[in-house]
Symmetry: D2
Subunit: 361 residues, 4 copies
């Protein structure tokens, strides 16, 4: 991963700022002959789109994706696919106060320290709005996966909001699409609704943990030592705005286990090895085992909050800031489709890498 | 990061297997004129070397590094630096049983699934022995950092063994070098000694959490969006054998915080901004703030244990395995210098990247 | 260089087809604070624009570039710069015959063989129209060079059309902009005008040799062994449509020289070494010497000609083809600004690479 | 291509200096299960080895390659293959004079300008001795090609020495291995023997043109726009020491042709398209057509000659130099196996890239 491009064979380059003319992604290296349409991609973009419920920012963006290149008669040609999303509701004036002051916990100050440029328009390039481009690119990756590995599915969902975790005993895949938090625990959804409403009204925000599970992934994906599947997934998820931790399988909890507890015992099944458990999260030595791939990442609370915080101005004066813009009380909600998109892109990339080195002729 | 190379400008390519002739690292892109000697690198290798205490594998390897190229009259020339470590104590016969059976939780089975090759000699390329090459390369990176950023220091230490975490109130930097666990909490060291001795005698193993802190890092390192400093660090740490989770600053715990709690408030100090706290772990928007960079990673328990576990053979027969080789009861101990080495390499790389894009002429 | 991206630090990704909605380039890694405007870029695009004289294709394209991202208040921000050029005069019907038949000497057939897709609309991605994106990106590179190396100039010009070479004794820098062939030899320009008119009327085409000279380049650019300055320049020029050969300094003619003839003798001048000659073309061991960098490339004749040629259809039937579209009788003319643009991009990239490895702190 | 690594999927990193302990290559990304032995590689190294005839340097190097990693039971494992060649006949004292003075036409001065280091031991990293590592790596690539494309052959040969070109009418594939110049024209070989003997005795040197032909290459290799097959080949050949020009098919001569002359007409044959000619050199739009791939490169005369030339010292004093070491009167001879090796590596890389994007599942 480097600057604004990720992936080695299925390569995505994103561009654009929160309040510029447009933003987008160039998908390069895509296999030819894969069916892709604007509607296919829009389906996923609509899940990330702001203003869907009172729990996300009230900024109104259509987030309509246009495919400018790389398709011919409805299928990919093998040449770069340009995906563009125009910005329509910039309303830059909302950010007046921010033009001079840095938000604590926000990238405002580090972009200024690094580049000497203060693009105050909604966070500029550091805005989570960039993730729309990832979701569009992820939609292309999903079409590739559908063509190459028909049974594979990628599902993201929230497993913790603030200190409130779901109860795994109530886990229900069918609940995920039925609540604004993409959580598989209906009771947690109800609880969180009240909790987040309170935070939202007080102008505060809160963090979350997102889990992404891949079912039907083939064994053999991943290129040790530095192109391990989990290495690339860790990078992919950590690159998402506000993410501060990434876990595979047992994750940080693996520290607490003994070797005998942690061993996923193996037996021979009709279609290959089957495992007694999945502490590994479907990856051993950086290569997929064929079990479910299970990954989690934490999202910190939005830094744009009403509560006044001490900070400094661009000119180095001490001051206070209280951010009045239209922000997400729990940005983790909209990180769910973003995590899925990154997973799709990494898998598409690794499928191609595996084919190159180990595929049959 | 890709296959066996990591870094974009300060690039490290490692090679070699656990029980082959030798292993090593090629360091490419190093600035010229930096003083580097075999003794400089050996210092760090000796920290990772097996057989140092009863808590690490009893395999006896000198881990003596030879510099085959890239130096002239004691300084780097700007051309590739080849670092070679010969294997001396291979004792392949120890691994007889493993030649046919897969260890649960080990990369044996996935390398077989991916490559169709069963290099049973001590795990082959998937062995943690590969990390010696990283430590040697990290030694070069440390010399570069010493030349470019004099005040910078990198310190790794263990903060949790099994379920037993250190008490932060007892944190003492000076303790780290004084116990076999590289922990800053002397009391934890004593407690872990007993605990690990018991596990070792019973042929079991346990996980750990390692923390790495960088003091004196400059602000401005990191290249958003996909070359963020934390993105590259997450990848670097996740690529280490047995690592299952990576955290920056509050890490997974960031989920439990509200925006007002998580904000590191800013005030103007004599040398630039100062912060009331460091929830961010020294990185905002993927760019270093100038605060301490704080990172943690979990290491799962070694999968080579005496306790018999169900598994399958290469030929697909169900069986049991109990591994009698010379293994680490807590491989996390030797992961401490490896984590430091990866940190050094990532920082050297990002310093060069920053200089390229934003440096003065 | 890989697929649709070139450069390592100053990275350009181009996208788009001849007859799609638009085409463009993403410039990533650009230093911040560099003044760039659409007018700056348009200046160079207008030189490549079709329909400027009767010697280039009569397709009418405004080739107006829009900057969609990466600027703030007139300067670069260090984030990706998206450059888009809309297609306006596609007139796809001109290409009716080509939809089924392959043009001898054209990429039609190999794209079909590789991808199994027949995007007949004006050559699709293989069209020389793609080079507009390079020229736009080269305009950004020129601004970077102007900021970093004030005295540097890049000048491309035609030194041969068909078998007719210029007379070096008549070389006059001031003539280059005064004739439609960008040639420094006024007499050759007059001669070529007649010659090309004849070819154009008969529906034939002809090749050319372009030379690019860089004056004021600093010594020290280039990263041996595989990132040599001449290596990257050879790749950059060979990637241009229709280019079949690249030469540095004496080029292919170096074969005919003896060692004593080829040696550029060195003496000490007031500002460093001065050379008795420049057989090397300003590059030794892949690193610039500080002399003029001199490079040539050949451009084959356009394959779209009126003269009937035997060929096959998509379905494998033998047939004949005669191409009636609006094509360039000597596409080498419009390759001049493209060669300059590639040179600018490679130099900007190597300046940044040199700064990273060898720059002062 | 970047610094000391080339290739995207079949990746070669070379290291080492002319007079250091050893030099070598790391081959990463190689498909697993390919038979490779030291004897396979030695076969090609022996062709490049110095001291084979009176027409090459009299330095005596065994150039014995050792495989340190990446093989198990005689086949590749998919992990990095380390190839090491020890230096045995360094005799550094030969270079005494060179320690202080720069050879005109040699990389001595630019390495000094770039890195500020003067590794005078036989040219250090810039020595053509580095090409031994390429030939070893090329040997691995040949094994991969033999496994993937059985009928493919790569043959390099000299077509011009000084101003003396072969007569194509006398071209005989069988002659190539029968003379010290690897030329297909027996009469040219006899002529060159006398010519070069005279140059050698007078302490002078001369340039050459090498041609490399690939027979049996499949159609479809190459990844436009910036990863074209000819783009990568141009870079690969230009990276070889002393190369100043690269041509594909008609090369620089394409400029002199008209469109009707240059068109390789197409007809349908029993196994796909057949062509009336091969002006294109087997590549159209950057993708192989299935015809022979034909490439040429020029090699300038060795700069280490007895004839005294004016130059400067490291300290900036004007002086003269006359090089008395053991040098090649026509270094182009030993460039033949190097050109073949680079061709093999580029083809192996592109076969894997093609398989990744367009291969069947």
């Amino acid at each position: 991963m480097s600057d604004n491009t990720f992936g080695r064979l299925f390569r995505v380059t994103t561009w654009g700022e929160s309040h510029g003319h447009a933003l987008g992604a160039t998908v390069d290296g895509c296999p030819p002959g894969v069916a892709v349409s604007e509607a296919d991609l829009q389906h996923w973009l609509d899940r990330r789109k702001p203003g869907q419920s009172k729990y996300t920012t009230q900024r109104r963006e259509a987030d309509a994706v246009e495919i400018l290149s790389g398709l011919f008669e409805g299928v990919t040609t093998g040449t770069p696919i340009q995906l563009m999303i125009r910005n329509t509701d910039q309303r830059s004036k909302d950010y007046g106060d921010i033009a001079e002051k840095f938000r604590p916990g926000h990238a405002d100050i580090t972009y200024w320290q690094k580049y000497g440029i203060r693009d105050y328009r909604g966070g500029g390039r550091s805005s989570a709005r960039e993730t729309a481009a990832r979701v569009a690119a992820g939609g292309v990756a999903r079409q590739v996966l559908a063509a190459l590995v028909p049974g594979l599915s990628i599902t993201g969902y929230m497993v913790q909001m603030g200190a409130r975790a779901i109860d795994r005993a109530r886990f229900d895949w069918d609940q995920i699409a039925r609540n604004p938090f993409w959580t598989p625990d209906a009771q947690a959804a109800a609880d969180w609704a009240d909790y987040l409403d309170g935070l939202r009204k007080s102008g505060n925000s809160v963090g979350a943990v997102i889990e992404v599970t891949v079912r039907g992934a083939p064994a053999g994906l991943g290129a040790p030592i530095y192109g391990k599947l989990d290495t690339d997934l860790a990078a992919a998820m950590m690159s998402i705005n506000a993410v501060k931790g990434v876990e595979i399988g047992e994750g940080m909890g693996a520290a607490a286990l003994t070797g005998s507890e942690n061993a996923d015992e193996i037996a021979m099944g009709p279609d290959g090895p089957v495992y007694s458990s999945n502490h590994a999260g479907g990856i051993l030595g950086g290569i997929s085992t064929g079990q479910d791939i299970v990954l989690r990442f934490s999202v910190k609370p939005t830094s744009s909050i009403l509560t006044p915080r001490r900070t400094v101005t661009k000119d180095g004066e001490n001051t206070e800031i209280s951010t009045k813009g239209r922000h997400d009380p729990c940005v983790g909600i909209r990180a769910v489709p973003v995590g899925e998109a990154m997973m799709a892109c990494v898998l598409a990339d690794h499928l191609m890498r595996h084919k190159a080195q180990c595929g049959d002729d």
